[in-house]
Amino acid sequence: MIYPERLIEDERYAYAMGVIRSLEQRLLDRSRWERLIEAETPDDALRTLADSDYSAYLPELSSPHEYERMLVRERERVHGLLERLMVDPEYLVYLRTPFDYHNLRIMLKAKIKEMNLSHLLTPFGNIPPAEMERIFQDERYDKLPSHLQVAVERGVVAYYEKYRMDMLDHAVDRCMFEYLTSLEFPFMRNYWRCVADLVNIRTVLRLDVRDEREKMRWVYMPGGFLPEKEFMAACDAGMDSFLHFISRFPYREVVEDGYSYLKRENSFLRFERLMEEFLLRYLSITRYHYMGPEVLVSYWGKKEQEIKNLRIVLSGKINRVPQEVIRERIAV
């Protein structure tokens, strides 16, 4: 357990619990991942998925290069399933909110640069891409939820301060974290607080590699568990102070191991794996939970991770990446 959490006991979720518990058995386990990693060819890797959730999409793929289609279909299935099972629809809204922020960023960029970027919109948000395009075309931002309206305003202001797109990105991301780390749903709120902390730590390491740690105050994501002032002070004081600061928190293992690997191999593979495993451990606190929406959220998180892992393995197999490199990156 990372941070103590009070989970919601809600008997309305009894049926959903049963469905999710049985579906959890079908998530790809460690031995399956091992078989996938050890597959000789991409075709062999796909064959390994024969009796999994993905088997239904395999006949539709004419070549392993089309794996992304399979992953999109599976994500659609999971979203559809959660839509049916989630008794409180607002929790589903929370799950989809990050994609709304992504679409919002894209639409803002399209508006500023007067370009058509509709192909970069994702259908997994709460607001369908067509609706989002219409809102931006008519400039009827009042049709957006209030937290997204704030993001539009801050994103535009941030861009015009320095005429830089990354400033818009950071401003909108900050709004997203402000919103997600203050949700009414404690399990998700704390999940996003952990994500904010880990993203901030990862950003410090990313900036440290390029010797640009002073930029951290521009890109800091609010809402995490780590106290902002102490975090920034430790970051300014150098990497030793920063590592010492982090060692007081549950992220110690992720950072120590990930940072030493980064220094040794000049690669973030292990850090990313450890970061994802940390979040998976957080989601797994629902394992012994009796019933409640958290179990559905946990399933969603695990499924998202599974899709990401599968993308890494299949892309690695297609491009003949060594097995040990793939293994280093897969969070299970």
């Binding site: 970069l120 830089r164 950071h170 997203m176 993203v199 390491l205 990313r206 390029r210 993308r311 990446v321």
Partner: protein, 207 residues
């Protein structure tokens, strides 16, 4: 082969001058050829090493990019790289090496390389871009060396042809012609002497 020239003393003098010039030219061109060969050998070594390094770096950069792509959503990759803030320019000038104008590229990176969301992107993307940046610098260096090598090789080929033309055609021809004119002139000299002796005899008999 004897050149089609009239066998006169004036021509002989001209041919001797041309022969001396051709020998001097041949010597200079031979020296140029040797020096070109040395420069090319050095450049070839550099190009081989650099090419190997560029290929290795390119593979590593691509592998990193691959991992970054695999860790990110498709739309996030394109979004991240849609509006680059970094520009790359190449200034071009020429320098003379062995009378060959070879190009010199000056590379300039301006702006920041990593200008995208840190939440939606993988840190492997930063490393991939950093590697690609370094690799592009080396790639331009490689292009500079390879172009220089190509131009020097062309010059080498031209010089070799000139040296061979002088060594195997012009100089032997001139030598043959000089020899021919000298023989012809000696023959004419002998003819004149005989004619004079004959005239002298005739005059002596009549007198």
């Amino acid at each position: 082969m004897v050149l089609p020239v009239s066998a006169t003393r004036m021509e002989l003098l001209n041919l001797k001058k041309r022969l001396a010039l051709a020998r001097r030219g041949h010597k200079l061109l031979k020296e140029k050829q040797d020096e070109l060969m040395r420069v090319i050998q050095e450049l070839l070594k550099k190009v081989r090493t650099l090419r190997r390094e560029v290929e290795r770096e390119f593979t590593q950069a691509i592998q990193r990019f691959l991992f970054a792509r695999a860790s990110m959503e498709d739309f996030a990759v394109e979004d991240a790289l849609l509006f680059p803030a970094c520009s790359f320019t190449i200034d071009f000038r020429k320098k003379m090496v062995m009378n060959v104008r070879i190009p010199v590229f000056e590379k300039h990176f301006e702006g920041e390389l990593v200008t995208y969301s840190f939440y939606w992107t993988s840190p492997e993307l930063d490393l991939a871009l950093e590697r690609l940046e370094k690799m592009v610098e080396r790639l331009v260096e490689l292009a500079e060396y390879e172009k220089a090598l190509q131009l020097l090789a062309d010059e080498m080929e031209k010089t070799r042809r000139r040296v061979n033309a002088l060594e195997y055609i012009l100089i032997p021809n001139l030598e043959d012609t000089v020899k021919y004119i000298q023989m012809k002139l000696s023959e004419m000299e002998r003819g004149n002497i005989t004619r004079l002796m004959r005239i002298k005899d005739v005059i002596r008999k009549e007198g």
